[in-house]
């Protein structure tokens, strides 16, 4: 269960190999006096070694919950999570610690995610202590300095406390803490969205550089496509607890297959003037339905400009459109799980 030693020689690992796979993953939060909140509700996802997978969707669609579930920081209600082929949903206490060394997380809010009572040095050293890395005071201190240097912070930050730091500096500390356990995968949960616009690019560039240098794999969460399309190899689009489209970034942004992805893209300004002129804004009508009571069939149907007959009756499957590009929409053929008899009759290929 130990992370493989990382030498420059194996730095860019063979792409394509699946590092993490989620199948039918669900996280439901019980609610007093009502149906559970289905924050994550049947997610299938693959993260390949060495890639950046962007995960986008509106606030509240379940991105953070999905990320937390991958580290078992919230307990999955159903489904499997495999890391290198091992199911992590059944891990005991000690193995869980090993999982949290191999998979790390950078949190959205750098103000809330650092303990205000601890010094930066202690915050960054904590994973070292927990996992018994760099044993001994001197070695630990040297490693903390090294980690701080990796994220562009002077060793003098070691003795400061979070409140003395700017938002960007704090998030660098958050990154250093995530790196301390020498993880393979880092879940970056909107790591720059609460930072000043002027420093967002710096932190983003830092993350990109660290990935290249350390051969890291990222699950990069963002609420809009613009933020991830330049750093992601592949993009997964999430809506109301489900992945609705996934594929290579160029395919998903250049030829979106799901109406929701198109709506997200229409909100992204295009730098190319002719393209900007033809870009039509698709304004989504209506509010996001409650994840406690998602619409029947396709969850997007209440806001979808293209909704048609089978949409309320058949829950669309994430079907392959070729080249690893997948989308869950009946416009590409009515496949999925019928929710009633009408739906069963509407299937393209009734079994």
């Amino acid at each position: 269960m130990t992370a493989p030693a990382r030498t420059p020689a194996d730095a860019p690992p063979a792409p394509g190999e699946v590092l993490l796979r989620a199948e039918g993953l669900a996280v439901h939060f019980p609610q007093r006096g009502g149906p559970p909140v289905r924050a994550v509700d049947g997610v299938d996802l693959e993260v390949r070694r060495g890639e950046t997978l962007g995960l986008v969707g509106e606030s509240g669609c379940g991105k953070s919950t999905l990320g937390l579930a991958l580290l078992r920081l919230v307990e999955p209600t159903a489904g499997r999570i495999e890391l290198d082929g091992t199911d992590v949903t059944a891990l005991g206490r000690r193995e869980l610690r090993g999982l949290r060394r191999r998979v790390a997380m950078v949190f959205q809010d750098p103000y809330a995610s650092l303990d205000p009572r601890q010094t930066i040095g202690r915050i960054v050293a904590e994973p070292l202590e927990v996992h018994g890395l760099a044993p001994g005071r001197a070695a630990r201190r040297a490693r903390v300095d090294e980690l701080l240097a990796m994220v562009g912070l002077d060793p003098s930050f070691r003795d400061r406390r979070p409140h003395e730091l700017s938002g960007g500096q704090r998030q660098r500390v958050g990154v250093a803490r995530a790196l301390a356990g020498e993880p393979e995968l880092i879940v970056c949960d909107e790591p720059i969205s609460s930072l000043d616009v002027s420093i967002q690019a710096q932190v983003l560039n830092l993350l990109v550089r660290l990935q290249r240098e350390l051969g890291l794999t990222y699950l990069f969460v963002a609420h809009d496509l613009a933020a991830v399309q330049h750093v992601s190899d592949r993009v997964a689009v999430m809506y109301l607890g489900r992945i609705v489209e996934v594929g290579d970034t160029a395919r998903v942004t250049g030829d979106p297959a799901h109406p929701y992805t198109r709506a997200l893209l229409s909100a992204v300004p295009v730098p190319d003037p002719p393209a900007e002129r033809v870009r039509r804004r698709i304004v989504l009508s209506g509010d996001v339905p409650s994840p406690a009571a998602p619409p029947s069939g396709c969850r997007f149907r209440t806001r979808c400009p293209d909704a048609f007959e089978p949409c309320p009756h058949v829950d669309p499957a994430l079907a392959d459109l070729g080249g690893g590009h997948r989308a869950a929409c009946h416009l590409h053929g009515v496949v999925g799980t019928p929710v009633d008899e009408a739906g069963a009759a509407l299937l393209d290929d009734p079994a």
């Binding site: 610690r97 949290r100 949190f107 009572r117 601890q118 927990v130 938002g167 803490r177 989504l284 996001v288």
Partner: protein
């Protein structure tokens, strides 16, 4: 675009405003207390109290039970500034010597309550669920009894004497520490930094002791100061009714009880130990309130913004 926006970085500003309070160390805290004149006076009284309790016997002009039958019930004079009691003992000496059992019983009792209450409150608030229900219902039951009645009940089981008084008072004040701790733990456990600690593999014990406890320390410190006041009062009350410190050892509560019978003829016998109790209890209370103000960021910023506007 609005529909696609995530929540703005609201907490950023709040984090910055609250930050200076998190930095308040012991020295900063003392400075804040001394700025408040009432608190400064209370701290002086408490400092004198501690010095007297430590030096007691050596400061006293007469021995603790030195009897002079010629000097029975003498009014305050140069020779006996606080007068003498019915056996001819010097009241000033006995008040000075009586500081030690007061402080010792108070400190030990509050120490017991602090340790037991904080551990129970921390575990209950951190784990929630069944542990929380069981622990806190037990605390509720203890809390439902009037304090002195409960202390008397404990002493009825364990017998009289100073040691049992400490245990009794400790039991009585455990629930309040458990409640104060649990209430703060409930908010701290939901903080992102706790989740972040878990994300790097930290276990429950580590999270409780290194992340939760330091962040709930402020209200516990305040409660400690206030409880010291009540514990000293409780010790005096128990000694007054004959359950606490046993004669002939000097004790403020016991002296008050003895003086009661002579209040018409020798007011000094009851008044001086009474004043000593009053001064110490009031000082601990004032210090507790001042600590609360100094440690509570909301209250402090409210005061500061009011001052700014004024």
């Amino acid at each position: 675009m609005t529909a696609l926006d995530d929540t703005p970085a609201g907490p950023a500003e709040a984090g910055q405003v609250a930050a200076p309070d998190e930095a308040v160390g012991a020295r900063g805290l003392l400075r804040a207390l001394l700025r408040n004149r009432l608190a400064a006076a209370a701290l002086v009284v408490l400092a004198i109290f501690v010095v007297v309790a430590v030096l007691g016997e050596r400061l006293a002009p007469y021995g603790r039970n030195e009897v002079s039958s010629a000097d029975k019930l003498r009014a305050p004079s140069l020779e006996h500034p606080f007068g003498t009691d019915q056996l001819g003992r010097d009241v000033l000496s006995r008040v000075l010597i009586g500081a030690e059992p007061s402080l010792r019983v108070g400190l030990v009792a509050v120490g017991i309550a602090l340790v037991a209450g904080v551990v129970l409150g921390l575990v209950a608030g951190y784990y929630r669920g069944l542990v929380d229900d069981v622990v806190m219902r037990c605390m509720d039951v203890l809390f439902a009894f009037p304090a002195i009645l409960l202390a008397i009940a404990v002493m009825a089981i364990r017998g009289r004497g100073a040691t049992n008084a400490m245990i009794a008072i400790g039991v009585v004040y455990t629930p309040i520490f458990a409640r104060v701790t649990r209430a703060s733990v409930l908010t701290v456990r939901e903080q992102v930094f706790v989740r972040a600690a878990r994300s790097i593999g930290a276990g429950d014990l580590r999270i409780m002791t290194r992340h939760v406890l330091p962040n709930v320390a402020a209200p516990i410190i305040v409660q400690t100061s206030i409880s010291l006041a009540f514990a000293i009062l409780a010790e005096a009350a128990l000694s007054f009714i004959g359950l606490g410190t046993q004669p002939p050892e000097p004790s403020w509560g016991r002296m008050l009880a003895d003086g009661r019978g002579f209040i018409q003829d020798a007011w000094w016998m009851a008044v001086f130990p009474g004043l000593a109790i009053f001064a110490v209890v009031l000082s601990f209370n004032v210090t507790g309130d001042a600590l609360r103000d100094a440690l509570d960021p909301r209250q402090r910023s409210a005061i500061e913004s009011a001052a700014g506007r004024g």
